[in-house]
């Protein structure tokens, strides 16, 4: 559905200001409507934890949380995030490492580390919604996150271990 505003109080079609919350901070970015959240985070806000790997929603390396739920930042327009809360891997460790981050270290849940921020955000997103996931829940949560090095078994182990720690 295309809404054509009749009143003069519209913005666009060029670059517009978008106010959103990123890692707890209120920010306003000036972006063209076609700019993805991923490029906005990386290039405008300097948050390069989310990675650009496929840029078409197949690999999950750009996973961030939007209003607490995992989302592919490469498939999300920045303008669609107005007034929403975006969390990236950089925002997890404001008060020390998040249990998922610590579990990734303990379980060697990475090799090259390029998919790691996305994997971690998928796991954090899962634990927010389900504090006691079983292995099947974890598999579902990270099945959209590709890892070419094959760190998968350790990623699953890390997520399960972190859930036990979070519960305590």
């Amino acid at each position: 559905m295309v809404l054509v505003p009749k009143a003069p109080s519209f913005v666009g079609p060029g670059a517009i200001d978008v106010a959103l919350e990123v890692n707890g901070d209120a920010v306003t970015v000036h972006v063209p409507p076609h700019r993805t959240l991923l490029d906005t985070l990386r290039e405008t806000l300097g948050l390069t934890g989310a990675k650009r790997v496929c840029d078409e929603g197949t690999c999950g390396a750009c996973t961030v949380l939007i209003d607490g739920k995992p989302a592919y930042a490469c498939m999300t327009l920045a303008v669609a995030c107005a007034d929403r809360k975006v969390e990236t891997v950089e925002g997890l460790s404001k008060d020390g490492l998040h249990p998922v981050q610590q579990a990734f270290i303990d379980h060697d849940a990475y090799q090259c580390g390029f998919c790691t921020p996305g994997q971690i955000m998928s796991c954090v997103g899962l634990l927010r919604q389900n504090a006691s996931p079983d292995a099947e829940d974890v598999l579902r949560a990270v099945s959209g996150n590709l890892c070419r090095c094959g760190a998968y078994p350790n990623i699953v182990a890390a997520a399960l271990a972190a859930s036990k720690k979070t519960k305590r």
């Binding site: 990386r42 290039e43 300097g46 948050l47 390069t48 934890g49 989310a50 990675k51 650009r52 790997v53 496929c54 840029d55 078409e56 197949t58 690999c59 390396a61 990236t88 891997v89 950089e90 997890l92 460790s93 490492l97 981050q101 610590q102 990734f104 270290i105 303990d106 060697d108 990475y110 090799q111 090259c112 580390g113 390029f114 998919c115 790691t116 921020p117 971690i120 598999l139 990270v142 099945s143 996150n145 590709l146 890892c147 070419r148 090095c149 094959g150 760190a151 998968y152 078994p153 350790n154 990623i155 699953v156």
Partner: protein, 772 residues
């Protein structure tokens, strides 16, 4: 310390060469199995773990410099064409475009044996035609579409077997096929004539795409005459050499950096065209320039594992394999070399009569690049299946047959004695862990009526000895912390952690007291992080550097404490002597600021010995005979790689190799549209790499004996071994399960079903299952 010239034989990805290197001082004997090591050989989480999990790890792709321009390439839409005319005026007129380079205006720059970056004749879909630098990537991409090119389309060959055929379009004056490797042993002709069982088979493996998650790319910046290049690479010094060759500038003015890198798997061995283009634009435009490939470009122009066509003829006499003939053709695309799939045939098993030939075949596709054990994965897929088929026809257990050819302690190719060979031990462990006794020659019923279960195994041979030259320094600070500098890189294998452990062990520090600085050509030289040679090349130099630092520290302590050096030792950051126990900081703190600098170099490999790694994989699978789906239930991987420095990281690496091997054998296949020469699945949607759901139960074991003759740390390489035997082990398990052999990788459901259809006549039990 005096400098010595040494000559040494080295093996890199199956190719043995003579090297001359310089070394300093004297080498150490290897730590023995009883050395009482407290850090080396123990699990340790990665020293760079926090950077990796917080997003702070800076990959080349994460570098955004102020004022940086972005490059996108125009790539050929034709598999072969002459570029008649380029008109870039519409692109240049686009606001935000800062420069366009193409064959008519680009400065001369030698690149991999050619004199130019942009060829007059483009030779594959994806070949570079022009490059645009612009303020943003979006503008650059738009400008690329505005470049007008007139092509004269030429005849092309989009397929390996088409290129091999009589009358194929010739892509080079000498024809498409050229010999790239040969080995002869015994008398194959006579041996086949006197054999009792002879088995022949044709094997095909598909083109595998690396798909490193970080694509190939570089950022270049000039400061006056000095060029700094950040590149996602396995070899900063290789990139430096490529830049020097292209731009003719001295080494002192080139600095190449690679801190974290997002996977390479062999494909990131030196400067790319993107590197040179970024450097040229950066100089011309006076701004930093970034050039990264998109995912699609990565899968066209950044390398691949060659598809192969192989024939194997193998025979037995009595209870032993008597002769083998292995012929192999590899799709090089537009590459200048190929890997040798006959390597395992020549050297893995002790077989009396061997004839092998391998051939490089040119096609109108992107060049190959090394991909984790290039050649050996493909070759073992054919060899170890042929052995299973022979065993089946001989009525022998395939493992028992292999054992008869795994006992000799000399290398059948060179006749040199192995420094260490624990292949039989690998078999012993694997056999037990998988429960090999459950394997029945005719396979077994699986967990449902329509599922069949089977067991298979295969062996692994690879080099991994490491090689000089490699150098390192250890700077010991007055507070008792140390910085190791070495020009190697950590491509995800855990190099930083392993080297920190070596320094800590030798120097007497805690691992956390060691910082490791890698990936910088302003450090000491280290070889490419490939060929499973990093730890075995760099590790011994690092240990010597730490030992040198420890010696100097003890001399300093001896003067300050007025005790003989022989009465002192360093342990976990403490200097311990009779009645003394002081931290290094306390001792060195007594003098004005002072840095101990230890140096170490990699000594040559031992003369007259063959240094190899061995291993074996065992697999249990189920096959759904209705859908052709293969379920891998359990993989046991056992490797003989000498000393394992860090079992936690080594296990991760083996699991990763297994998973990548599963991709090769079950799902990964580049598909080329033959009428147009286009890759149709050059993305992560259509090209299927394993996901978390494809991971089987895995058991990883090591034989663990140090190879004390190999080098002073007793370790060999592990990067490649765990992918080599996996595909053949799976294929053998599938053949055992369903009674029909599939000789083409990947073993897709379609191929499984086709094979089952063809064999219905022969496999009555399954026909009976169908009718019930």
């Amino acid at each position: 310390m005096s400098i010595k010239v040494v000559r040494t034989k080295s093996e890199f990805e199956g190719i043995v060469s003579e090297e001359t290197a310089l070394v300093e001082g004297t080498d150490l004997r290897s730590w023995g199995d009883d050395a009482g090591l407290t850090i080396v050989g123990k699990r340790h989480t990665r020293v760079d773990g926090i950077a990796r999990v917080t997003g702070r790890a800076m990959f080349t792709q994460d570098l955004y410099l102020p004022g940086m321009l972005h490059v996108r390439m125009l790539r050929s839409p034709y598999p072969r064409a002459r570029v008649r005319k380029i008109d870039a005026s519409r692109a240049e007129a686009l606001p935000g475009v800062r420069g366009v380079l193409h064959r008519s205006n680009a400065p001369k720059a030698a690149f991999r044996g050619e004199e130019t970056i942009f060829r007059d004749e483009v030779r594959f879909v994806g070949d570079e035609v022009a490059a645009v630098a612009a303020d943003t990537e979006e503008i650059a991409a738009e400008a690329v579409r505005l470049i007008d090119v007139e092509y004269e389309v030429l005849p092309f060959v989009p397929d390996l077997e088409e290129a091999m055929a009589e009358g194929a379009t010739k892509l080079a004056d000498g024809g498409n096929v050229s010999e790239s490797g040969k080995h002869d042993r015994g008398d194959v002709k006579r041996a086949f004539a006197e054999s009792q069982v002879v088995v022949e088979g044709t094997y095909r493996t598909s083109t595998q795409l690396h798909n490193s998650l970080e694509t190939h790319g570089a950022v270049a910046r000039w400061d006056g005459d000095e060029l700094t290049v950040w590149e996602s690479t396995q070899h900063v010094f290789g990139v430096r050499a490529g830049i020097q060759a292209a731009l003719k500038i001295p080494y002192k003015d080139i600095r190449v950096l690679c801190d974290y890198m997002g996977g390479g798997f062999g494909s990131k061995g030196g400067a790319g065209k993107y590197t040179i283009v970024a450097a040229i634009f950066a100089r011309q435009l006076g701004k930093p320039v970034r050039c990264f490939l998109t995912r699609d470009e990565e899968n066209l122009a950044a390398g691949n594992r060659s598809a192969t066509y192989q024939t194997v003829k193998i025979s037995s006499k009595g209870k032993k394999i008597h002769a083998i003939e292995h012929l192999s053709w590899s799709n090089a695309g537009q590459g200048r070399w190929v890997a040798d799939p006959t390597g395992p045939t020549n050297g893995l098993y002790d077989i009396a009569n061997v004839r092998s030939r391998s051939y490089k075949v040119l096609t109108s596709l992107g060049a190959l690049a090394s991909f984790r054990a290039p050649g050996y994965v493909e070759g073992t897929f054919a060899l170890d299946q042929a052995i299973d088929e022979l065993a089946e026809r001989m009525g022998e257990d395939p493992l028992a047959l292999r054992r008869r050819h795994a006992t000799r302690m000399t290398d059948p190719v060179t006749s040199l004695r192995y420094s260490l060979k624990r292949l039989l031990r690998c078999y012993e462990i694997g056999e037990k862990e998988i429960g090999w006794h459950r394997r029945k020659p005719e396979g077994a019923r699986g967990s449902a009526l329509h599922r069949r279960r089977g067991y298979g195994m295969a062996s692994q041979l690879w080099g991994g000895s490491g090689l000089p030259p490699a150098y390192a320094t250890v700077h010991l600070n007055p507070d008792g912390t140390a910085v190791l500098r070495c020009g190697t890189q950590d491509i995800g294998t855990g190099t930083r952690t392993v080297l920190a452990q070596l320094v800590a062990e030798e120097l007497g520090l805690e691992v956390d007291a060691v910082r490791v600085e890698l990936g910088d050509t302003n450090s000491q030289y280290a070889p490419i992080s490939a060929g499973s040679l990093t730890v075995a090349s760099v590790g011994p130099a690092v240990r010597l550097a730490a030992k040198d630092a420890r010696g100097q520290l003890l001399e300093a302590a001896s003067g300050l404490l007025e005790m003989g050096t022989s009465e002192l030792r360093v342990q976990r950051g403490q200097i311990i002597g009779k009645g003394h126990r002081m931290s290094i900081g306390e001792v060195l703190g007594q003098v004005e600021n002072f840095t101990v600098i230890g140096k170490g170099s990699r000594f040559p490999n031992p003369e007259g010995l063959s240094l190899k790694t061995f291993g074996a994989h065992f697999a249990q699978v189920e096959v759904d005979v209705r859908t052709g789906e293969i379920f891998v239930e359990h993989v046991v991987a056992v490797h003989d790689i000498g000393r394992v420095i860090n079992p936690l990281l080594a296990t991760s690496q083996v699991e990763g190799g297994i998973i990548q091997g599963l991709g090769f054998v079950l799902s990964e296949e580049r598909i080329v549209d033959r009428p147009t020469g286009h890759v149709v699945n050059g993305n992560l949607e259509g090209y299927k790499i394993p996901t978390v759901r494809d991971v089987p139960r895995m058991t990883v074991r090591f034989t663990e004996d140090a190879d004390v003759k190999a080098n002073n740390i007793g370790a060999k390489g592990l990067g490649e071994p765990p992918i080599i035997p996996l595909p053949a082990a799976i294929a053998n398990a599938v053949a055992n399960a369903i009674g029909v052999r599939i000789r083409t990788a990947p073993l897709t459901r379609q191929r499984v079903l086709e094979a089952l259809e063809l064999s219905l006549e022969r496999t009555r039990p399954q026909a009976a299952v169908r009718s019930t």
